[in-house]
């Protein structure tokens, strides 16, 4: 009782923070600078705050409809975060023009691979979704995203990227992927109907919203307090004039 009440409160808190961040970005006009982040948060709010709650109130927490809705939207949100990481890769490579075309191909390949494998395994085990399969599936999906996020973090250190805001956003994503990935692995490792599995499930009820909350707070800190990257662009009109004068000289 206490467990479900506390975790319900935590999920509500997560939605409140997500809503506050969406509104903050919209009011400050920062959503134009961070469109992918804003789009993800908006999708998260619609899925977690509206769709899941609608199914929860209409069918109940133990209904098949809610379980299907929860796990399928969870996979969709994880794939959304995957796309968000891709946009962060693009931002990190803003000053590395030679690197981006190669990375773009690599990321597109990995995304298609993950999407294809996720769709294939989910469709094959659709009837079997309540088994341990879902833990293994999520464990692999979250861990793949975590590896990609860590590659981005390492790449940013290697190319000495000074974008503090982006580094903080990437740290937030790391928290969101690492916590649930470890938790899913723990649930997969503990045998069903044992005390250990019960504790692992209890841990998941708290760890999952807490990690999302950690990510949102880190993002809040990043967009509010971190220095923004300077955008210095030359006027388009000046470029041909300068080029002409250079040629004539």
């Amino acid at each position: 009782m206490l467990e479900s009440f506390l975790s319900f409160d935590l999920y509500l808190l997560v939605d409140v923070f997500a809503f506050a961040l969406v509104v903050f970005l919209a009011c400050k006009g920062s959503w134009k600078r961070l469109p992918a982040l804003w789009a993800y948060l908006f999708a998260f709010l619609v899925i977690d705050g509206v769709a899941r709650r609608y199914v929860l109130y209409h069918y109940g927490i133990k209904s098949n409809a809610y379980i299907y809705c929860y796990w399928l939207t969870d996979a969709a949100l994880a794939l959304g975060l995957f796309l968000l990481i891709c946009t962060f890769f693009q931002r990190a490579c803003a000053n590395e023009r030679k690197l981006w075309p190669f990375l773009r191909l690599f990321l597109a390949f990995v995304f298609v691979l993950v999407l294809g494998m996720s769709a294939h395994t989910l469709s094959r085990n659709y009837e079997n979704l309540f088994s341990r399969f879902i833990y293994e599936f999520n464990q692999n999906l979250y861990f793949t995203c975590l590896v990609l996020n860590t590659l981005l973090f390492i790449m940013m250190q290697q190319i000495e990227n000074a974008d503090d805001e982006l580094q903080m956003l990437v740290c937030g994503l790391g928290l969101q992927f690492a916590g649930p990935a470890a938790n899913f692995a723990l649930m997969f490792l503990t045998p069903d109907n044992t005390t250990a599995h019960g504790y692992a499930k209890l841990l998941f009820a708290f760890a999952s919203p807490l990690c999302t909350l950690g990510m949102l707070l880190t993002w809040f800190y990043a967009v509010v307090k971190m220095p923004k990257p300077a955008t210095a662009r030359a006027s388009k009109k000046l470029v041909p004039v300068m080029a002409t004068s250079h040629r004539s000289a």
Binding site: Y142, Q167, C171, G172, G179, A181, A182, L217, Y221, P227
Partner: protein, 158 residues
Amino acid sequence: MFVASLILILSTALFLFYLQATCQRILRRQFDQEYFRSIVNANRLEFPSIRKALEEYDGPTDYARFRMTLKCDFLALTYLLKNAGNADRRYTRDERLLMLYFRAVYLLMVARHGLRLRERNAIVNLTAILEYFANVVGQRVNLVRFGNLAPSNYLLNL
């Protein structure tokens, strides 16, 4: 089974790594001036002298004294964070996170000392956190006017 165990270990390690990276990013925040100096002088805090000692001498550290000093400075600064120039009398979320980080690094320092490993890096990390706290307190005190009191006098009257 092997893959799941590997994912469990790696994910837990990466979770702690990202938590530490987040704290380090917060600590890297630039202040427009060195606010911590006035706070250190007014409250006779000793963490800058510890850092100086570590930077200048590569010999063995006076662990017992350093540990006590860092703990006292932490208690003083957390009190000031809550009460000096803080209308809400509450810690902010990043301050709470850094306080947790301080405690974790402090425990790590104790553990490393117990295992007879070098605790130098942990001590340097702790002084960096204390400097950040002192900078935040100094900035707050600097922003608020307290009649004719200078920031250091205000702190002495707390």
